[in-house]
Symmetry: C2
Subunit: 478 residues, 2 copies
Amino acid sequence: MIPNWILQRSTLTPEQVAVSFEGQSWTYKEINDLALRYASKLEALGIKAHDRVAIFATSTPQIIFMICGCMHLQCEMVLLNLRLSKTELAYQIQDSEAVAILVEDELLNKLPETASPIHSFSKVSDVSAIAFTPTDEWDENDTMTIMYTSGTTGFPKGVRQTVGNHVSSATSSLYNTGLVEDDTWLCTVPLFHISGFSMLCKCLLHGVRLELLKKFDVEKVVDFLVDGTVTRMSVVAFTLERILTELEHRDVYVSDKFQTMLAGGGPVPIDYLKRAIKRHIQISQTYGMTETSSQTATLSSKDALRKIGSAGKPLFFNQIRIENAKAPFEQGEILIRGKHVTPGYVGRFSDKPSQQDGWLHSGDIGYFDDEGYLFVVDRRSDLIISGGENIYPAEIENVLTSHPSVREVGVCGVEDDKWGQVPNAFVVLNNNVEVNELLVYCKEHLAGYKVPNKIYIVDELPRNGSNKLLRRKLKELI
Amino acid sequence: MIPNWILQRSTLTPEQVAVSFEGQSWTYKEINDLALRYASKLEALGIKAHDRVAIFATSTPQIIFMICGCMHLQCEMVLLNLRLSKTELAYQIQDSEAVAILVEDELLNKLPETASPIHSFSKVSDVSAIAFTPTDEWDENDTMTIMYTSGTTGFPKGVRQTVGNHVSSATSSLYNTGLVEDDTWLCTVPLFHISGFSMLCKCLLHGVRLELLKKFDVEKVVDFLVDGTVTRMSVVAFTLERILTELEHRDVYVSDKFQTMLAGGGPVPIDYLKRAIKRHIQISQTYGMTETSSQTATLSSKDALRKIGSAGKPLFFNQIRIENAKAPFEQGEILIRGKHVTPGYVGRFSDKPSQQDGWLHSGDIGYFDDEGYLFVVDRRSDLIISGGENIYPAEIENVLTSHPSVREVGVCGVEDDKWGQVPNAFVVLNNNVEVNELLVYCKEHLAGYKVPNKIYIVDELPRNGSNKLLRRKLKELI
């Protein structure tokens, strides 16, 4: 059992600022008071303790109040990605069997029709509060959040993250990065992603401030970095590059109050690291995934240049090993163990074990060097990472295959200057169809970032002896 | 399951200094190598994994190597207090059923004869190492340490502290005090006490340095505080006062690298706090006990003057409540809950539950004020704290009662300029005996600090209606 975070923070550090947004701030006591009111209103709407609810909202304080209200009710929160198509949203809502959908008013028209009742934020707000008493403690094994990651089968899997998973992740992170007085995390990543949600958890647990931006805005970010408003933030290579360019353009440096920038979503180019050092930024490269409730390995800034391309070492309460590797540099699947690892999935995949003998099989290929530094070779076998978003080829293949004129499809990632990678599709046709019609079809069924950048019509797809599609050979067809 | 601390630290931060002592230092890799060798030698001496062993040694690196060797072997360590008499040592060794006693060579003649084989440190060192492979993980429920606290019955109780207890304590402490680069704990308190052992745990877990002193030496301590060698330390009012006097005498200030001084063992006088502020020392008053594996509540330095006499608020993963209290300022027994609370005792008290409905009954009386700050009124009902050592009156009463000329005994603490408190005894005689003979008798059976400062011969002892001794009325007899 673990003390109810929101209550505990409100008891221990009531006057400490918890959240800031566009110049307005809320203390831990205010967050708790708001969360209690929201919990009460949700209960008045028929949502019971431990119910599973979906949340669909942008990064404003409203979603934080709603999340904290759901925490008080110990609800399982299905956090819906804002970039999903209606078809994808419908799948996740139905698969998770959410009893209700809490949605920001402006996003009401983006929701598909499902059996789950929809409560807009203003509707929740307008309900009269009823008597509500939160529980003092939470069970570590209770599911707190559910986030869908695209599975290799093409059907997204609803990954459960428990109270204990989030606590272990935040604690491991603290053992790794330390904690200084007046620490403040700058959040420019979505709260529905594990990157953003884990930042919120760290703030609630460590009692520090979250400076929230509705979206990544390079000018505001650089203002905060330079004037010392924030001490930590998370970036991907793409956003780091924009920050560096802005700092260079203004010819300014980050404040000496600034501690660390965590860089995830793949290795950071050496050129960026050198430019970052010149601007007084310490970069810690990280490796993690939804199934590990955020970071599982981190390269300290001290080693950043010496170990280019490495994801560093496991966090303290983690163990990482390479399957079947007997010596340094031997490659194999990356296996992960620790209290931050998901216990499993919901819905269609609820019977699928997330671990084998206590180890999560990441699907990623990597190795350790002779000093124990982890290198991730392939970020999952065929995963495409586009602007920080994970895209699994099979999901796009499933959509295109469902078009009547298409017989076979293969999708792979192609390097792109702006997004890192973009998906390209290769189709074998049943009968004549315009490429443009296929693109329109994709746009109807997929989030914009998953729509193939190019669709090539080919005679056949590369396959191995067992007729398994060889995605890595697709690029040779271009 | 939790990663083996020693292995994990050696993997993650091999070159970081773990321990310094009299100008010499050992890195985490060196500590691990030594600990593996010691574990192997202990195994060669017939000590098996999970065996219970007693350790009797002063605060030098040797005891740390031995402790870390025992950790690799997952032994349960009975940490023997250096100030115990042979009778007391024999009781603890027999009660705990230790399979062996590991003793510093210089202390061999202090040990009583018991059935447990004795291995001096040099004997362990001289044994040839055999092949030894440590386990990667430790079970959180495994007992790591056993420390005896004098019980109210007069029979010391062997308190178990598990791997999970120590991790929870170190983690809660980190959430409370933060962690800065190059943090260093100065340890001047015994490692066999929870105050010292928990400091060692924090260093091993957080990967920071322990600067070890064999005993409290005010000149060395002040040197370290002034030159920035250490960033944190633990004090009691008595040692704090000596540090302040030395700083004032030299007219110097502590380095701005210094973070926090944790002050335990009872409230710190306001005058000391004001003097500390003048010397740039931040004091965090704490409340804790062997059963809570160290701190359970802490008053932040910000509140030090505003909340004089308070033990502050619970640490993050703790809960504290006052039994039957319905409003602020209502007094009652202090109840404590959390993963840092002992699961129970060994030996004679192994059947005695340490908790009721999941709450530890501290035996201490306290209250919360209207802002949620804890005030400890009586540090346990009749506990005497002398120079930082806990003395339970019943233990001394048991010894004196066993003298043939003594009929009844009552013991209480009396204020003392040097030690804070010293025990005084009040005896009702059966037949004539010199006070001096009684004092000699006490010295034979009790650690020096437990021997009564004065023994008064009286006609009768104050008792209540049920004939229960009223210890707090004893002082009126002086």
